[in-house]
């Protein structure tokens, strides 16, 4: 199979919330100012081009901004035309997912998503105080109550994939075990990510420092380990264990290639990744005016992909090279095609991998002794 996941931004960065740490708004080198609405033709043009180039698995992840703002008629026409594409191209897989703050989710959306197999992911940074510390509406009021209502509704309808919890300056002041237990009680498929800024903006009040994140995430892992319940998963830990045990991590940050993804802006602009969407030096072309083969042949695309394969000496010599792959390129970005040499959370991954490997080794030894 040959596939691509497209981070599609149907309303560009338009959003009904104004989270202070939003990567769309905070980085100085992102120039997206206008928020056009994607046409159905633009959305379909990308999918048709992928099929034309021989991709037989296309995942559209409707992203934002807040993708529900685009309204149901847009998505209804998209899924209708996707059905025609499937009939025209037997054997291809065309799938839809969405990342939404879920504050606008209602019964009608849930029924629609269920019918069309759209899995939604969302954000939940913890309990109300934590979530509202950074996730607010433009008037400053917190979005927690609406987000939680949407999360529960999505869960009731069986369309909730999971959620991402951003670990901020406020989170690391909490008990990691209490935080972990809250997350997996809200939804059994959680993900955590440290709040970080690329470029020169990394010292914002909301960011978490590696020396804060390592002890916090390590204690969170131990809480997961002690709970010992495969029905409650933290994707970072799950992927890490999978990589340490001979499999492969399944999140893009650690897989070692960025070629799985493309980003489609509302106006048809194509970028190599959603995190770089709107950063002018990463613009590859426009699907409304060019063939995707021409867009992917842009020299910047090859250069971008090589960021994950041409590792610096520190990574080449690192025992975790195969597992870490120097992390997410965006987190290393300094602006002007300059990148920090190693991941800003290098010491965190080094410490966490060693900790988890230690836990696995002790457990495997105990299991071997029990069997002897």
């Amino acid at each position: 199979m040959k596939g691509k996941t497209v981070i599609a931004k149907p309303v560009s960065i338009a959003c009904n919330a104004r989270c202070d740490y939003c990567y769309n708004l905070t980085t100085s080198f992102r120039t997206t100012k206008v928020t056009p609405r994607m046409s159905v033709d633009t959305a379909m043009r990308m999918q048709e081009e992928l099929l034309r180039l021989g991709y037989d698995r296309v995942r559209m992840i409707w992203h934002g901004g807040e993708p529900l703002l685009r309204g149901m008629p847009f998505y209804a026409e998209v899924v209708s035309r996707q059905e025609q594409l499937r009939q025209d191209h037997p054997g291809v897989r065309i799938e839809n997912g969405m990342q939404s703050n879920l504050t606008l989710l209602d019964e009608a959306w849930c029924v629609f998503f269920k019918e069309h197999h759209v899995v939604v992911g969302t954000s939940l940074d913890g309990w109300a105080e934590l979530h509202n510390a950074h996730r607010t509406y433009p008037n400053g009021s917190g979005v927690f109550n609406d987000a939680m209502r949407g999360l529960k509704l999505a869960d009731q309808h069986g369309i909730l994939g999971g959620f991402i919890a951003v670990v901020t300056d406020q989170t690391v002041k909490q008990d990691p075990k209490v935080f972990f237990e809250y997350l997996v009680s809200a939804c059994p498929r959680a993900e955590i990510t440290p709040c970080w800024e690329a470029g020169d903006d990394k010292d914002q009040v909301y960011t978490v420092k590696p020396e804060q994140f390592l002890p916090f995430v390590t204690e969170m892992f131990d809480a997961w380990w002690a709970m010992n319940d495969p029905g409650r998963r933290v994707r970072m830990f799950d992927g890490l264990m999978q990589a340490l045990l001979g499999g492969q991590d399944f999140t893009c940050s650690f897989k070692g290639n960025c070629g799985d993804f493309l980003a489609l802006e509302a106006d048809g602009s194509v970028y190599p990744c959603g995190k770089f969407s709107g950063v002018p030096e990463f613009l590859l072309g426009n699907v409304n005016r060019q063939g995707l083969d021409e867009i992917l042949a842009h020299p910047s695309y090859a250069e971008f992909l090589e960021l994950r394969t041409n590792l610096p000496p520190k990574c080449e010599a690192c025992r975790w090279k195969r597992i870490c792959n120097n992390g997410c390129s965006f987190e290393r970005y300094l602006g002007g095609w300059r990148f920090a040499e190693v991941a800003p959370f290098c010491e965190v991954w080094d410490g966490l991998y060693a900790h988890v490997q230690g836990r696995i080794q002790v457990l495997q030894a105990a299991l071997a002794e029990r069997q002897a």
């Binding site: 199979m1 997912g97 970072m236 799950d238 499999g247 999140t251």
Partner: protein
Amino acid sequence: MAGENLLNSVLENIQRQGPVAESDGTYAVYVNDYANYGNWYDCSSYH
């Protein structure tokens, strides 16, 4: 034993995924990927 069920679950998942089918060198597709997460998208660093 702490972690035992998690370890078994992860090992089963690796087994279930089967071999990586390389296609154009940029996309690794497993026989049964995203087994535990459905089609939840796999970029984790957004905020």
